[in-house]
Symmetry: C2
Subunit: 422 residues, 2 copies
């Protein structure tokens, strides 16, 4: 036929999920749903296709360059969403007068980014989004992080496996002002600092110089990265600022939540997205080999930026790709294969009606039944049943129909039991 193997592949960076890939994904989604629900979040969703205009208004420059955009047959400019926050902001703004605040919403959605392929990156991933909008209390930050750590815990990942690194853009702003770096240089400084770890210190310096900082300011900025605690930050500031006091409250709440062993102050956390204004955080595996497990922070202008009434909030995004790597590295056996409980087979067409009626009764009792679609030899049926991972197998021959009973074989223990065919 002259076809090439190529045509059987998914587009580059996009994933297929074969049946053996689903149990892990389903276990992750279930952990996300449960943790979000336990924390009182309500589920919402929006279509993966968004208007390009909205994404341009809301997303940072870095993301705009990575958007899958296209025009539809009416020349509408559309795009596959790179993140959920713009859609969330749009939906909330559309009903801002009718909704009750603070609002706690979550979604599990697919997002797309066109970027170079590397370990832990695909061009699409699934993502849990937790957002609390219209709430100033730092308990909002605490609750989204608590929900995310609860999801990790239910997947078997505890304080030995990951740590949430926490800082604050407001604190960093205080520190930059203390260093006499004017406010209009701050956005570029944030972006450059966010790149550290991905690019070298030299490259970061270069970025800061290009953004207009002079060499001595660049050195002061990089010196901030030596700050190891909130106390050290307060020492530089002279006295605690509202931003540093808020961070201190945050860590105290985390302690009352019993989560102190899962958080650490880390001045290098800045986040790439433009819209964060307060506390920011990223969770990493303890050996820091992988990309961030989840991340988020406080934004003050979520709705204002797209034309709604200004309302602040806290958001958290938690992807499935790094999490799956973490679980794999840990040899986790999360996820139960989604095979049928019971296989039903039969020797010839004569026993088919009995096999059908037995299958219907079992299904009526909510048992997952794989009914053979054609007759087989007993040997063929049982070897197929063994490979399929069924819990039990029932094979109906002529004698069984005559006697009105059939043997149920437990495929795990090999035990056999007689069962009434009716």
């Amino acid at each position: 036929m002259g076809t090439n193997k190529q045509s059987f592949s998914a587009p580059r960076g996009m994933r297929d999920f074969y049946p053996e890939d689903m149990p892990l994904r389903n276990a992750v989604f279930a952990a996300w749903h449960t943790a979000a629900g336990q924390h009182g979040f309500q589920q919402y969703d929006a279509c993966v296709v968004e208007t390009l205009d909205l994404l341009k208004k809301k997303s940072g420059d870095e993301i705009i360059g990575q958007i899958y955009d296209f025009t539809d047959k009416s020349d509408r400019e559309l795009a596959l969403r790179p993140e959920m926050t713009p859609s969330l902001a749009r939906m909330v703004a559309a009903r801002q007068n009718a909704l009750r605040f603070p609002l706690k919403w979550y979604s599990i959605v697919q997002c797309f980014r066109y970027e170079r392929m590397s370990k832990g990156r695909k061009r699409e991933h699934f993502q849990l989004n937790l957002d609390i909008i219209g709430e100033n209390s730092v308990l909002a930050e605490v609750e989204v992080i608590s929900a995310a750590t609860r999801a990790l815990e239910s997947l078997g990942l505890g304080p030995d496996d990951f740590c949430v690194h926490v800082s604050s853009r407001a604190l960093l702003t205080d520190l930059l002002l203390k260093l006499d770096i004017p406010a209009d240089h701050h956005p570029a400084t944030f972006l450059a600092l966010d790149k550290l770890g991905k690019i070298s210190k030299e490259a970061t310096s270069e970025l800061l110089l290009t953004s207009g900082l002079d060499r001595s300011h660049v050195e002061s900025v990089l010196s901030l990265l030596a700050i190891k605690s909130l106390d050290e930050a307060n020492n530089i500031l002279g006295a605690p600022t509202p931003a540093s006091m808020r961070l201190s409250d945050f860590f105290q709440f985390m302690e009352s939540y019993g989560l102190s062993d899962r958080v650490a102050f880390d001045i290098s956390i800045v986040r790439g997205l433009a819209y964060y204004t307060g506390i920011v955080f990223e969770a990493f595996d303890r050996s820091k080999e992988l990309r961030a497990i989840f991340g988020g922070g406080r934004y003050d202008n979520l709705l204002g930026d797209i034309g709604g009434n200004p309302a602040g909030g806290v958001g958290l995004g938690f992807g499935d790709v790094v999490l799956a790597e973490l679980l794999t590295n840990k040899n986790s056996s999360i996820g139960v294969p989604n095979t049928a409980d019971t296989g039903v087979g039969y020797m010839s067409e004569e026993q088919k009606p009995a096999a059908i009626s037995l299958s219907l009764s079992l299904r009526q009792e909510n048992i997952l039944v794989d009914l053979a679609l054609h007759p087989e030899k007993a040997k063929t049926f049982f070897s197929r049943a063994d490979r399929s991972g069924f819990q039990q197998a029932i094979f109906i021959g002529p004698d069984d129909v005559a006697s009105g009973t059939v043997r149920v074989k437990n495929l795990k223990t090999g035990e056999q039991q007689q069962m009434d065919l009716a």
Copy 2:
């Protein structure tokens, strides 16, 4: 601010799901998952973005004109899938030597079609796909329909609500040959007949004439639509053909499944997609006011068409939009609101630690807890709790912390119970 309302809308034809829209959708998805699992289907998935090339190979002409296609930043030709079957064929072909047949797979996926907006149509929808590949027995057709009717049943929709209309392209082929209509006119004839019901009989005649049939043949084709039973078809054919015997077997099996009251022979069912070759079916509401609830049929060349080894099978697609209309028309109260079980509030910052520790204990017991993020007056808290749909509400004041007990108010009955704060 001069922003227009426009920017708060989803793209045309795309849906937002607010928290109040999720319970129905989740109930439908759960019914699909359960019915598929009970019938021994295994879940799979593929990315909504496919290569345009694959879709061109597999989909009929009608669909190609409705595809959302685009090029990525490397000039790859991609598209949002209009249906799942091409992706399924691709995935199976890629592992054809390793997979065991017959295979029974299902997926719940989003599909996109750019078409004129009308009742029951969006430009995206979610869809259950059931496929059995590598099986010739008509029991394959029976099992996919049984799974779909089981899903409807669990949503409260029975024989009074819908009927599966069934015919066969192979039978229609026999009839057309009997009328001396050459085989190369059959594909165009199928497409024209599929349009009946959407367009007038006159317009259908016109289509048939344009496709090259002469006027007397057009009249014979349209006369076939008067056939009301399999017996009448057999009378025209002179004797039962393999195709009519297969249909007869199908109806017999449906009877042994107890589903006779949910199926009917209907010669007008043809299906629009090019790849069907045998039995085809579409389920409609009894008053036939809505579009098809689900549809599908047998295809013989699913894998061969895209370059794999030929293998036949049966597929069924079941969308969420018409189903939701049907449930709404029936005033169905399917779906439980996804609100928290318990709201926890407190009068001042002093009671916050007690509220936190109580919430953590409740969550540990898998209770869904909405913890207030800031202090409120009792009246504000209880009025908010009433509107939120919580089952119960707990408000902590200074006296409660002092006494170590707190009142739990059941919001449905108004009953109050004392509870230990520790």
